[in-house]
């Protein structure tokens, strides 16, 4: 057994059906000097085996903090509340928030069960060691008894799988000798070395050239087919969501404001924020003289928020006296499609 006996994990946590991950009422506060930022405010979502969920939102909406909280790598000035339930390969269910952040149990899960890739692959590697060294490290720490030679062979194989040409030469090179796209491939290879069931991708293509972006997305899709892992895909780009995900959750100001299947979100968006996002996508047949749509205003800073819909200041359909004075609970407008908006009613889809 790899988990730490000291941590009280004996009480069974329920995780129903084929869920791999369930986030229940997750709250994360960030302490910045004397101010407390409510970065994540009651987030709920589930992720099934083999499924890809897109977490979409502007910068600062809390999507990155949510993902890092799942892996347990938020910095020390973050505190969290709620439940993050995760089912391991052996079927045991953990509430990740109860685990000691850098304790034995959590560390054993990282890399082998939950893996994460980052926005800037160039900074995710230490410049001081060869790419091969940093890749085999993940095998060596999780599978004691593996020899360096064995680890190296597995790394070579992984590098080949992620499409790095001439891996025998590349494996002994340093990160600065790689291009950004190559490093992202290497990072994916590293994170998949120990066959995780959940891959969290935090804007994996944002820092890359457009042509490289498509290649990386294709690579992730094909690897998902091969390894069968679930992906939590974090992005601000609705275009990639359409091509990558099964379901979408739209985040705004630390809350999920709308969630549903890709079809539901793209064809039947209900929340004014989601609609705004979709409208601001440039279209192929758009008249060139026409200005691109932009949501007015900026994301407010989540400090000392009053009970209200987080979006009311920027919403074109804001109802004075309602939206700005009460918290809004999500309603299910069609099966699997939830909206956090006072304009939406139970079981009714707005046109």
């Amino acid at each position: 057994m790899f988990w730490n006996k000291k941590e009280n994990l004996d009480h069974q946590v329920e995780l129903s059906g084929d869920y791999l991950l369930e986030v229940r009422d997750l709250n994360v506060n960030i302490q910045v000097e004397e101010d407390t930022l409510h970065a994540v405010r009651g987030v709920n979502f589930v992720l099934r085996r083999g499924e890809t969920l897109g977490l979409v939102g502007e910068s600062g909406c809390g999507k990155s903090v949510t993902s890092k909280e799942i892996v347990g790598i938020n910095p020390g000035n973050c505190s969290s509340k709620g439940e993050v339930l995760f089912r391991t390969k052996t079927g045991k269910v953990f509430n990740l928030l109860e685990l000691e952040k850098d304790g034995v149990t959590y560390r054993a899960l990282r890399g082998t069960e939950i893996a994460m890739i980052f926005q800037e692959p160039m900074t995710a590697f230490s410049p001081l060691y060869t790419v091969g060294n940093q890749l085999s490290e993940i095998i060596l720490i999780h599978e004691p008894g593996t020899t360096k030679q064995q680890a190296r062979e597995r790394v070579l194989e992984m590098l080949k799988k992620v499409g790095i040409a001439n891996p025998e030469k590349r494996i002994d090179q340093y990160p600065h000798e790689f291009s950004g796209g190559m490093l992202q491939r290497a990072l994916i290879a590293m994170m998949l070395c120990c066959d995780p069931t959940l891959l969290i991708a935090d804007e994996p293509t944002t820092a890359l050239d457009v042509t490289i972006q498509a290649q990386i997305l294709e690579l992730m899709k094909s690897l998902q087919k091969e390894f069968g892992m679930s992906i939590l895909f974090i992005t601000h780009d609705l275009g990639t969501v359409a091509s990558m995900c099964d379901r979408v959750a739209v985040m705004y100001l630390g809350q999920i404001v709308e969630t549903g299947s890709v079809r539901q979100i793209f064809h039947n968006a209900q929340h004014p924020y989601t609609r705004g996002l979709l409208k601001s996508l440039p279209k192929m047949n758009q008249n060139r003289d026409e200005r691109l749509y932009a949501i007015r205003g900026v994301v407010p800073v989540p400090v000392g928020l009053k009970p209200s819909c987080g979006f009311h200041e920027r919403c074109e359909e804001c109802m004075a006296g309602k939206c700005d004075s009460m918290n809004v609970e999500p309603v299910e407008v069609e099966p699997g499609h939830f909206v956090r908006c006072l304009l939406s009613e139970e079981g009714k889809v707005r046109a």
Binding site: V32, E33, D35, L37, P300, V301, V303, G304, L305
Partner: protein, 373 residues
């Protein structure tokens, strides 16, 4: 970081429109130690400027009677009676153990302290070098003596010497700093802007100067000064020597700043729009690291204070009768000073405070200037 005020709506819009300097000032004010240091330095410099008024004795005065006299305590009560601030008269005695001359208080004789005392006891001076005046902040009445910090081996009041020494010890570094910054900025910008062989030559020069240990090089250069120079000339030359050695640090940073900024888009934009080189450097490049230069200026001063003090202490800088803190400390290089005349170490406290205050100030400014903090 007061980035996030309590309520969004109530957040002061001025934050967003504040200039770089206002932001720096707001952040600087939060740095308590740096604020305290700034206040202390203002006090020091004010006292130094009005030194002749604050000091009860002028530079040229001494009283041969009171050689190596310890600090005279200031009393308020005589035999339980309120008297206001006064000192007792001094009488000569011999230490029963060491048989050395010492001074003891003559409790029979009370000398009150006069404030804003007029009289020739402290000598005449000119306010800011212009207006003749003979009023001093305080003086003992009659033939009483106030030696707050004791006297030196020639019977000069150490407190007055510290105050008057500050005029040199605190102002040489400022002049030196201006020279240093001018030189460092010039060399750094030349190297950074032109690159190529200019850069190569300047870099070699920097490397050569940096290869010498500071103090030994200072020592060698000042030793070469002819002994016949007047104090004012020594003052000038020392300032030049100190700054000749301190410029490379700034030059190096300015150079590397230039190299990194040269590639920035706004410089490229200025260049494409046909701005002349001088305008690009003066209007765009230097302002973009001005805050850095100011921090560097603040941090150059303490190293120059140390330089002047060290050189004078070693007998290679200013020499008596010129007065600077380093000159005052020359006496502490003798063993008996440490053993018998502990008060002569007092000037050290001021060197220490001035250096520390400048360091804290520089640190506070650096934190304030860092846009990411």
């Amino acid at each position: 970081m007061a980035l996030f005020k309590k309520k969004n709506k109530e957040r002061d819009d001025s934050y967003y429109y504040a200039s770089q300097w206002q932001l720096m000032y707001q952040k600087f004010r939060k740095h308590k130690l740096a604020m305290a240091s700034a206040v202390l330095l203002i006090v020091f410099y004010t006292i130094a400027i009005f030194g002749n008024f604050v000091a009860p004795q002028g530079t040229e005065q001494f009283s041969g009677e009171y050689v190596n006299c310890g600090p005279t305590p200031i009393h308020f009560f005589h035999e339980g009676e309120w008297e206001g601030p006064f000192v007792y008269g001094l009488k000569r005695d011999r230490d029963p153990v060491t048989y050395m001359n010492i001074f003891v208080e003559d409790t029979e004789k009370i000398c009150h302290i006069d404030f804003f005392a007029e009289g020739d006891k402290g000598g005449e001076y000119k306010i800011l070098g212009l207006i003749p005046c003979n009023i001093h902040l305080f003086q003992a009445e009659g033939d009483g003596q106030v030696f707050l910090f004791g006297t030196d081996g020639m019977g000069r009041d150490l407190f007055s010497r510290v105050v008057l020494g500050a005029q040199i010890s605190l102002f040489i570094p400022v002049v030196g700093m201006i020279l240093t910054v001018a030189l460092g900025l010039l060399m750094g910008s030349l190297a950074g802007y032109f690159g190529g062989w200019v850069d190569n030559v300047i870099q070699r020069l920097i490397e050569v100067v940096r290869s010498f240990p500071n103090v030994p090089l200072w020592m060698a250069l000042s030793a070469a000064l002819p002994a016949t120079l007047k104090p004012a000339q020594v003052f000038m030359l020392m300032t030049i020597i100190l700054s000749l050695i301190s410029w490379p640090n700034l030059a190096r940073t300015v150079r590397s700043q230039f190299f990194s900024i040269k590639k920035e888009d706004f410089i490229m934009a200025a260049r494409i729009s046909g701005a002349p080189a001088s305008a690009i450097v003066l209007r765009h490049m230097i302002p973009s690291f001005l805050s850095y230069i100011i921090v560097n200026m603040t941090l150059t001063i303490p190293s120059l204070i140390v330089g002047e003090t060290t050189l004078s202490f070693l007998g290679l800088g200013l020499r008596s009768p010129a007065t600077s803190w380093g000159v005052l400390l020359q006496e502490t290089n003798k063993l008996e000073t440490i053993m018998f005349y502990g008060w002569k170490l007092i000037p050290m406290i001021f060197v220490f405070l001035a250096v520390l205050a400048f360091n804290f100030l520089g640190d506070g400014l650096r934190d304030a200037a860092d846009p990411y903090k």
